[in-house]
């Protein structure tokens, strides 16, 4: 018996002997309750172990495959699936409190579904239909995520549906893909209350899969991929407005990081004049005729603006960033819709996009200086440096002037950081002085 379990039993006996009351017993039990088995390494090794066992069973079966009669091959095909399903039943009945059990059994069932269907295909020499195969396996694995409350099959599920949609690209399949993606992302949203490393993992996987999702949908709906990517990044930045109660940092971090970095990189790409003087994919599709693509862009932008408005009360700076990026999206959208790829307009669009990026960078610096946040300040400074460095490709400038520009930028970089660090030091000293006085 572990010491925590012994102590809990003792607390019960104290309560029965009326040494302590029920409230005190409850407080003590909460404090000394046995810790649940949530160690990340244990979960990781459990998942790897489960996968290795599954692979081992299949490979041993494959060793003498040629000499096995078909019924025996079929039995081997079903064996890992039936064993893993039996373990899933056992987990639900007896081990549901153990995260390690739930995660490892969920991934074992997922791997078994893939293996069993593949082996059956092999036994009957079925023709290749990779898209249907991964979609079937992915859909059969999805319920395990919800039933076993497990994050491990989520990556496999996203991979399966994205593979299917990429292989069988069509506007209808793009919509089906969106629905299937929502089924996976919904699980992450439902888990938003538990700020754990598992939530952070699921959020990262969902953000990465979401990027692949919008690109695949963009291709199927014949959209400009640059515009689709920018709209996605705007949506990521604004996602905080989804819940006014506030979302945990573990969930929001990947959205913020990928959204801001992706948004800045895409904006930087749009600052080149060449990006406004070539005919985008969409321009060949009859411009206004592309209803599906326009709807996709419109919905993403509308959602981003809606979230940004909700966010405005709490975080004006972030709403400003969303507004700037959304403005660029609208600009690009109009450029495509009205076929303005004529080189006479390119310079104007290039100037506007440069100005937008400069404003975003300055916004970051101002925000960082006000809040004494070096990260935001340095992001702004880095964006300005990137903007200037990129213009070296557009503008003729000799090495002396380039050198001077870099010297000035480097000096400003250092001075701003020194200023922020000093301000932070002063405010900390002020806080400790006030605490001492109190």
């Amino acid at each position: 018996m572990r010491k925590e379990e012994w102590l809990i039993a003792e607390i019960d006996s104290w309560q029965q002997s009326e040494l302590i009351d029920a409230d005190t017993a409850g407080v003590l039990k909460d404090r000394y309750a046995p810790k649940r088995n949530t160690n990340a390494l244990i979960i990781l090794f459990s998942v790897i172990g489960a996968l290795l066992i599954g692979a081992g069973v299949i490979l041993i079966g494959a060793w003498n495959w040629e000499y096995f009669p078909i019924p025996l091959r079929i039995a081997i095909a079903f064996l890992p699936l039936v064993i893993s399903q039996a373990l899933a039943v056992f987990t639900v009945r007896a081990k549901y409190e153990s995260l390690a059990w739930r995660e490892s059994i969920a991934i074992l069932v997922t791997a078994s579904v893939f293996a069993s269907i593949a082996i059956v295909g092999q036994v009957f020499h079925l023709p290749s239909d990779y898209g249907a195969y991964v979609l079937t396996c992915g859909l059969l694995s999805l319920p395990m995520i919800y039933i076993l409350d497990a994050a491990s099959p989520l990556l496999v599920y996203y991979w399966a549906i994205l593979n299917w949609a990429a292989l069988e690209s069509s506007p209808t399949n793009a919509l089906i893909l969106l629905g299937l993606f929502v089924l996976g992302a919904l699980f992450v949203y439902l888990k938003k209350g538990k700020a754990t490393a598992r939530l952070a993992y699921m959020a990262r996987v969902t953000v990465a899969a979401g990027f692949a999702l919008v690109l695949i949908m963009g291709i199927a709906l014949k959209c400009s991929l640059l515009l689709v990517a920018l709209c996605y990044f705007v949506l990521l930045v604004s996602i905080e407005g989804l819940s006014v109660e506030g979302l945990p940092e573990q969930l929001l971090a990947p959205f913020k990081i990928i959204g801001v970095l992706g948004g800045l990189i895409t904006t930087a790409i749009l600052t080149y004049e060449a990006m406004w003087s070539y005919a985008d994919t969409w321009s060949y599709q009859g411009r206004l005729a592309n209803v599906g693509g326009s709807a996709m862009i419109g919905i993403m932008l509308a959602a981003a603006v809606f979230f940004a408005i909700r966010l405005f009360k709490y975080d004006k700076a972030k709403s400003g960033l969303v507004a700037s990026l959304a403005f660029l999206c609208v600009l690009r959208f109009l450029w495509i819709m009205f076929g303005l790829s004529d080189s006479s307009y390119a310079f104007i669009f290039m100037c506007v996009s440069n100005l937008a990026m400069l404003l975003i960078a300055v916004g970051f610096i101002v925000y960082g200086v006000r809040k004494t946040a070096p990260l935001q300040t340095n992001i702004g400074m880095a964006a300005i440096c990137a903007l200037i460095a990129m213009r070296f490709f557009d503008v003729e400038m000799d090495f002396l002037w380039r050198g001077i520009v870099f010297l000035v930028l480097g000096t400003v970089f250092l001075l701003v950081n020194v200023k922020i660090l000093r301000t932070r030091k002063q405010s900390k000293q002020e806080e400790s002085r006030q605490e001492d006085e109190a």
Partner: protein
């Protein structure tokens, strides 16, 4: 909520078993009770990451010269080998037919013959001889439009037998 977990799990288990079980029941029935045909093929040896090694089969050209349509009617030529004489979008009323593995045009559902990791590379070397002085074909079983490959032969001998005697 927790009370629903077990019924939900049972339902999912049934669905997970149903998908491969349906294929097994359907294909096993074709294999046991279907009509047998021989189709000439040309094999090559690739690798399927999920299902292991297989000999990739390419049916001879005469099976591809029948137009479009989801259902292909099988006829047997004077040499004893089967061919697709016609294809249409409607299920044929009479005769033996096979359903296409592709929705847009007729494709004979013969594209792979799975083999052991050791045997498939040896089969590859045998392939080099096919076409000059040897003849390769598959035997298939067909029933209600479904087709299952039952064997791969070179000059009338099963490929597994040939490789076993060579090693």
């Amino acid at each position: 909520m927790k009370k629903l977990l077990m019924p939900a799990l049972i339902a999912v288990i049934v669905a997970q078993l149903f998908a491969p079980a349906y294929t097994v029941i359907n294909r096993y029935d074709i294999l046991k009770t279907g009509e047998e045909f021989k189709f000439k093929v040309r094999p090559v040896d690739p690798y399927d990451a999920f299902r292991g090694r297989y000999v990739s089969l390419s049916p001879e050209q005469r099976q591809g010269s029948h137009g479009s349509g989801r259902y292909g009617v099988i006829t047997v030529g004077a040499d004893g080998f089967a061919l697709i004489s016609s294809a249409s979008d409607k299920k044929p009323v009479s005769g033996t037919y096979v359903k296409s593995s592709d929705r847009s045009s007729f494709v004979l559902p013969i594209d792979r013959y799975y083999m052991n990791e050791k045997l498939a590379p040896e089969a590859e070397t045998l392939v080099q001889q096919v076409g000059s002085d040897k003849e390769a074909y598959v035997t298939v079983r067909v029933k209600n439009g479904g087709m299952v490959i039952s064997g791969l032969f070179i000059d009338g001998v099963a490929i597994e037998e040939i490789i076993r005697h060579r090693s």
